[in-house]
């Protein structure tokens, strides 16, 4: 997917004016946020916190042993008849998929939701080669019809109202007009049914890989994951290398924490575990299963001080809790991953130079860290990224020199006090409605209070001596 993160401020400005989108986003995120709290802490606060810690442990320890676990998973999957392939980067992913398509004479593909496939632009790559690719998660299908990118990792059409979806179905699919959500869903079901039944290949992502059994685990609510892995002859799973967990116990905890944190469900409707293609004698299932282990920048993060972000289980709780995301929606972040997750992961995967505003797209309120089910310290990583940005000189000259001047003034108490006095002289005793230059950004939205006639320190000297 194309990276437009450097346009964050201008895209955000536009999306701030889109009341319908913001209403949809606000309603959905606050609902999900509340349901998450209810369910994560159903058995009490202490138990909820213990769950988070246990989930964090499962992911962190797996990350520590990643090479060994990848080895083990590959061996298990291969022994079970699956083909395990490795892709260093996006180009390689697309190349591998096209090779599989050619090898198995595939002409049509049905897809479950996969963020990795968005990262690498898989759909475009396949379509360029004349392969029909149909998204089957209802939200992703809607986006495909609208030719829009997702704006949330769990609820990809969070930004769309019912009427806009209705209009889309009428325009693109000739649906008989209806405002009934159930009817609209059934209509989409019928349209997609035909695609499922005739497709040659199903592509999915993967939520977890359990290394002790090689199981590729996928969670869905709709059943599209099952459809694309049961009907076509070939199943291809694209999984980031960081999705690894060591044991079935770890998986059991995570497959329950994930839906609680994401949508307030105690279990996903379907938790799939794929160990390999169909066995001899089984009545149905894919003849061939391919697992493509994807790096695409993850190993670089592994080696950096930001490795913690690789423990993310993609629940979306951080964006549900984030007041910045709730204000701007997901498209402003300019790539696959929005919200606090995106603010950290996007610069790390695509490069800081292509996502300069993102580490600053946060007031550092800490709500994301509070809700993260694997206890990732997102605010600290944002601060670290800001530091990195500063050192690459990717900073407003005005801000840079303003800070240096400010720092200078703050090193010397006399200068500090003098600066305050000057400010008072310049600004007088009324609130300021308009400040010049860069500072006008403050007064676009708020007054600034007058400086005190006498600073506290001066008053203290006068009243209390030294």
């Amino acid at each position: 997917m194309k990276v437009t993160s450097n346009d964050f401020t201008s895209t955000a400005k536009l999306s701030l004016m889109d009341d319908e989108m913001r209403r949809s986003v606000k309603q959905a995120t606050t609902t999900a946020y509340q349901k998450r709290i209810d369910l994560m802490f159903e058995a009490g606060h202490a138990h909820g916190e213990a769950l988070r810690q246990r989930a964090a442990q499962a992911k962190r320890r797996a990350l520590q042993r990643l090479p060994d676990l990848l080895d083990q998973a590959e061996a298990k999957l291969t022994a079970n008849g699956a083909h395990v392939l490795w892709a260093s980067d996006g180009e390689k992913v697309n190349q591998l998929v096209l090779e599989i398509i050619t090898r198995h004479a595939v002409t049509s593909v049905v897809k479950g939701k996969s963020m990795v496939s968005e990262e690498v632009g898989l759909n475009e790559a396949l379509e360029d080669h004349g392969i029909e690719v149909i998204e089957t998660d209802l939200g992703e299908y809607i986006l495909q019809l609208a030719d829009e990118p997702p704006s949330h990792i769990v609820i990809p059409v969070i930004h769309k109202s019912l009427t806009s979806i209705r209009d889309l179905f009428i325009e693109k699919l000739n649906m008989t007009p209806t405002d009934d959500g159930h009817e609209m869903a059934q209509f989409a079901r019928r349209v997609l049914r035909e695609k499922f039944l005739t497709a040659d290949m199903g592509i999915t992502g993967g939520n977890f890989i359990v290394s002790e059994t090689g199981s590729i685990c996928l969670v869905t609510n709709e059943g599209n994951g099952r459809m694309v892995t049961s009907l076509p002859r070939v199943h291809v799973a694209l999984v980031g290398i960081e999705k690894m967990v060591a044991t079935l116990e770890d998986f059991a905890i995570l497959t329950q924490v994930l839906p609680r944190s994401a949508t307030g469900q105690s279990m996903p409707v379907y938790t799939h575990m794929y160990n390999g293609p169909r066995k001899a004698g089984e009545p149905d299932g894919p003849d061939e299963m391919y697992v493509i282990l994807v790096d695409n920048g993850r190993s670089a993060i592994f080696n950096s001080g930001y490795a913690q972000i690789l423990t993310c289980i993609r629940c979306g709780a951080c964006m549900n809790a984030c007041p910045v995301y709730q204000a701007t929606g997901g498209h402003a972040y300019g790539w696959v991953y929005p919200g606090p997750l995106g603010a950290v992961l996007t610069p790390l995967l695509v490069g800081l130079e292509r996502a300069r505003p993102l580490p600053h797209a946060s007031s550092l309120c800490g709500a994301c860290k509070q809700v993260c089910p694997v206890d990732i310290d997102l605010p600290q990583m944002l601060l670290d990224l800001r530091h990195d940005l500063y050192h690459r000189r990717a900073v407003d000259p005005i801000l840079k020199w303003g800070l240096k001047l400010w720092a200078f003034g703050n090193r010397f108490p006399a200068l500090f006090e003098f600066g305050g006095r000057i400010a008072r002289l310049l600004t007088g005793d009324r609130s300021l409605k308009r400040l010049p230059g860069f500072l006008s950004r403050w007064t676009n939205y708020r007054d600034f209070p007058p400086f005190a006639r006498e600073s506290f320190r001066r008053q203290w000297r006068e009243r209390r001596g030294d």
């Binding site: 320890r61 490795w86 959500g181 099952r226 794929y274 169909r278 009545p283 913690q308």
Partner: protein, 218 residues
Amino acid sequence: MRKNRDEIMSRLDAAHPPLGAIEGGLERLSVVPMEHLSPQQTVDRFKEQARLLSSSVYVPASADEAIRLVMDLLGDDNRVMSWAFEHIPLPGLEAAFRTNSIRVVSARDETIRVGITGADAALASTGSLVLLTGEGKPRLASLLPKVHMAIIRQDQILADLETWVATLHEQGLDAFQNTASAMIISGPSRTADIAMQLILGMHGPGELHIIILEPTHL
């Protein structure tokens, strides 16, 4: 392609442990803490949780009543998708189908409304069913039709997912390894993608009926 694997692995191996020292352990933790449940409590818990997910749950008083239930749910249908009878713990089902001229069909036929399966386990804490693939256990029976009917024995109901996973370890993971895939089903399919409205019956079945047979019936 070997090259890609080597590249990736060498990049990972080159690092020191990426997260420094990690505190805390991997002790067993139940996501849904439960006191020890008697068999009856287990069934009750399963019923309660399954119903919260909009599954329908029945505990017929006898095998005959169970068969009547199945026939009622089939209505006028005379074609179904189904697991092999040996995998469905309801004695007399095969005979009842013969008597009523109900055919088990294995085609990908959209006109088939009902799919009947057993289960390999059930989970009380979340009202879930565990279905493993294997001979005589078509995946499509619990997937394509709009109605999924699952017939299970009471003793198949385990406390929770953590317990099921523990049994896999006890049996030795080889058995699980030889299974192509496992599906944990918690309720009928659903979506909330259209303006957060909860809609049941998306791509998977829109109705899930679970019939629990007590040991005395079998």
